[in-house]
């Protein structure tokens, strides 16, 4: 039989972007330790609806760790206490019977709260729109057997590309800095031949957008890397700094 636990949840409730929020406490019983955190939230919402109360608004989509929507700050950690996973991949077996779980939204000036646990992570999309792409040039098909870059560089680019844009880095950062995200997006392209061409413009445009949107200055605390569900390394931030500084000095 399933093991079940009883929990107390302290959930941040906020009616709208301008409304004043506060914590509400809910009891939830017989939660299967095999269920995921979001399934537990679904059960809570069914319970609230049955009691004719407003369900908790939270973001989610894929529920398999690839879309980056499930932004929840659980017991002091973005995506919960377990490492290298998103909230939707978090299992209830990480919690103990009788435990109190505090659930908060991302708190960062650049991610305003929409409702309850939902925040507007549109700022990250705007940074991507500023330069996180490669302009498509149609032309001859390249030789399928040509190897333009080494495996180690391709791996490094792939590690950067694993970023799902979830926002945990800025949420965890005491400076509200988006550097890990921007560094991942700049690195994944800067390391590849197709991306190198527009590298200087990309670094400048994305950093300018990041600053404009009110993200903070990176002081290299490393909290982002510790909380990143994809374990993106802060060494990409050094690459971003390099790309940006070289581009500026070339001007």
């Amino acid at each position: 039989m399933d093991k079940t636990i009883n929990l107390t949840l302290k959930v941040w409730r906020q009616a709208g972007p301008k409304a004043k929020g506060k914590f509400e406490t809910y009891k939830i019983d017989n939660v299967s330790t095999d269920s995921s955190f979001l399934e537990m939230m679904d059960v809570l919402n069914e319970q609230l609806v049955a009691e004719r109360k407003e369900p908790v608004a939270f973001d989610h989509d894929c529920r398999e760790g690839i879309c980056g929507m499930c932004s929840m700050y659980i017991n002091g950690h973005p995506h919960g206490p377990d490492g290298e996973i998103t909230t939707c991949q978090l299992h209830m077996r990480n919690f103990n019977d009788g435990q109190t779980i505090t659930i908060e939204p991302w708190r960062s000036a650049a991610f305003p709260i929409i409702k309850d646990l939902m925040v507007d992570r549109g700022a990250y999309d705007k940074i991507i729109q500023a330069g996180g792409y490669v302009n498509v040039n149609t032309g001859g098909v390249p030789d399928g057997n040509a190897i333009p870059i080494g495996k180690d560089i391709a791996d490094e680019a792939m590690d950067a590309a694993s970023c799902i844009g979830c926002g945990a880095c800025a949420a965890a950062c005491k400076n509200g800095s988006a550097m890990l995200f921007v560094a991942a997006k700049v690195s994944q392209l800067a390391l590849l031949p197709q991306g190198k061409v527009e590298g200087a413009h990309r670094a400048k445009a994305m950093v300018a957008k990041m600053d404009e949107l009110g993200f903070g200055n990176c002081t290299n605390t490393g909290a982002c890397e510790a909380e990143c569900p994809k374990n993106v390394s802060i060494s990409h931030i050094a690459r971003l700094n390099r790309e940006f500084l070289v581009a500026k000095f070339q001007d």
Partner: protein
């Protein structure tokens, strides 16, 4: 101006002034060791770094390095607090691998600054300042640095105060040195653990060299042993 308007530009200024201050500290701490080996040699250095034009030029460059570092530190920290937002997390846990110093650089810097003012009063005010203005503020000849060092550290309270100061400096530098390299883009996956070790080694050497002087006098060795 991108050195003010852009976050990475601001970090560039921070890291260059920081590195410059670290190099100054290396020079200063080596100079201090001379007072243990030979007080006469130390006074010769004090003489050399008196109110000469080159020492004054160096002093003003150094002072502006400090001023820029501090102004940027305040500006950056202010911006970062605003970026964090008005609402704070109710539960805040520490992440593994995040050093306490890295999150408290301003506090550590402020401690360093506080003692720096005391330090200027203890030494600069009685030495270079006297040579500049001719107003005599200390008990000894302005170039007799060794006498001033001995006088100050014959008081154990000052020894302890200076040791506390150096502890704060050590914490500031263990994060600051590798952080500066990271800000300059001089880092990668292989070097990340290495630059952290380099930062610890440099800060420990600097602080131990500084600490040697008060400890030497605290143990009573200054008055002939």
């Amino acid at each position: 101006m991108w050195l003010i308007d852009s976050s990475i530009g601001r970090k560039l200024v921070m890291s260059i002034t920081g590195t410059f201050l670290v190099l100054f500290l290396l020079f200063h701490s080596i100079m201090n060791l001379v007072v243990i080996i030979s007080p006469e040699g130390y006074n010769a250095i004090c003489e050399f770094l008196g109110a000469n034009w080159y020492a004054l030029v160096a002093t003003s460059i150094l002072a502006s390095g400090f001023v820029i570092h501090i102004l940027y530190a305040l500006y950056l920290t202010f911006q970062n607090m605003r970026a964090r937002g008005a609402e704070r997390y109710a539960v805040k846990n520490n992440q593994k691998g995040v050093s306490w110093s890295s999150q408290n650089m301003l506090v550590l810097g402020a401690i360093v600054l506080g003692f720096l003012v005391l330090h200027m009063y203890n030494f600069w005010f009685k030495m270079q300042f006297v040579e500049l203005t001719g107003i005599h503020t200390g008990d000894f000849h302005p170039a007799d640095g060794a006498a001033y060092v001995q006088q100050l550290f014959s008081n154990w309270v000052y020894c302890v105060v200076y040791i506390v100061w150096l502890a704060a400096l050590w914490l500031h530098l263990t994060h600051g040195i590798w952080s500066a390299l990271q800000s300059l883009g001089l880092n990668n996956k292989t070097w990340l653990p290495r630059v952290k070790v380099i930062a610890n080694v440099i800060s420990t050497i600097v602080v131990l060299m500084f600490m040697a002087v008060p400890v030497y006098y605290l143990l009573g060795c200054g008055s002939g042993c």
